[in-house]
Symmetry: C2
Subunit: 180 residues, 2 copies
Amino acid sequence: MPAVKRAPKKAKVTGKPAGKPVKRPATFALRKRPLPTRISPVAIDLGVLNDHLGYFVRRLQVWVFQDFIRRLSHIDISPAQFSVLVIIGANEGLSQSELAATLGIERARMVRMLHLLDRRGLTERLPSSADGRRHELRLTRAGEAQLKQAKALAAQHESSLLPKLGPDRYRMVLEALREI
Amino acid sequence: MPAVKRAPKKAKVTGKPAGKPVKRPATFALRKRPLPTRISPVAIDLGVLNDHLGYFVRRLQVWVFQDFIRRLSHIDISPAQFSVLVIIGANEGLSQSELAATLGIERARMVRMLHLLDRRGLTERLPSSADGRRHELRLTRAGEAQLKQAKALAAQHESSLLPKLGPDRYRMVLEALREI
DNA sequence: TATTGTTATACTCTATAACTATA
DNA sequence: TATAGTTATAGAGTATAACAATA
């Protein structure tokens, strides 16, 4: 309603006992709604957005991540967590800073992500013998098993993009972006 | 340092008088650091991430947005704000819900964005005469002027992507994503 | 002095629930 | 009952500052 011409609403604070924090899933809870058929459902004139790569890249990124999140929701692995596990698995013993720099995640943020993965028993941080400041990162046995499962689901996710984009476009775009 | 084998740090709370909130820029404060030469600086084995479109799309999206933010930092327009102004400008009188659905932004989020743009004198919400629930959105004169400036800067941003991606790749990717 | 890992803080954004005015 | 706009809240992510241990 047109609040512009009425008194402010005052928020009517929810009637809940204030002690009932609703548990939300760890990753974005986008799982329930069906994905839209088109990535960019156009009902309205996009104006100059039509000439901006960033707009379409953003729409595609959101759509791809949502599909990824849905497919890996069973094992509760987010895209960021997946990338962390993959990099550690492929580069055992690397440091948190190297990992963070590789993925473009802040060091401070990486600390919390690794805390969580440690607590879930998927990763370990071993003090480096060569450099007392560093942690050498590795997957636990459970982490390796989880990563294997995640890779299988992620591969399914990736396969699903082919028909969505069309095989030619898919290959073209992937190769183009990989080279940048 | 290897906290795993030491007592928890206890956070040493910062010595500040606790009454000095540092003013941060409205958009992501990524302006100061130089953009990396390569979008995905690879120093480390990416493993199966090399086969995932989502990874590269995400890296590209972040990179493109950072450039956009820098270039429009003078006028303090974020990518999301730009898209809102463009859509309103190209579709005067549309409702908040339509705008939000078009851009994939939550209605609740859109409220705060429009509050801010209203407060800055760039947009207006007029009660619809046909439907008492709706607001018809439009740009103010100032909003039109600001959008014009923003479009010019955004066009410069877009031009800068061409040499970065290579003109052929740029056209290919833009056309591919636009069709999806 | 610089770097690694860490904690804390502020802010942005997403997801959701609940409320109101209206249809 | 459903929809448009709104408020509130929880959580994820980003940016930044500051600190201890170590180099």
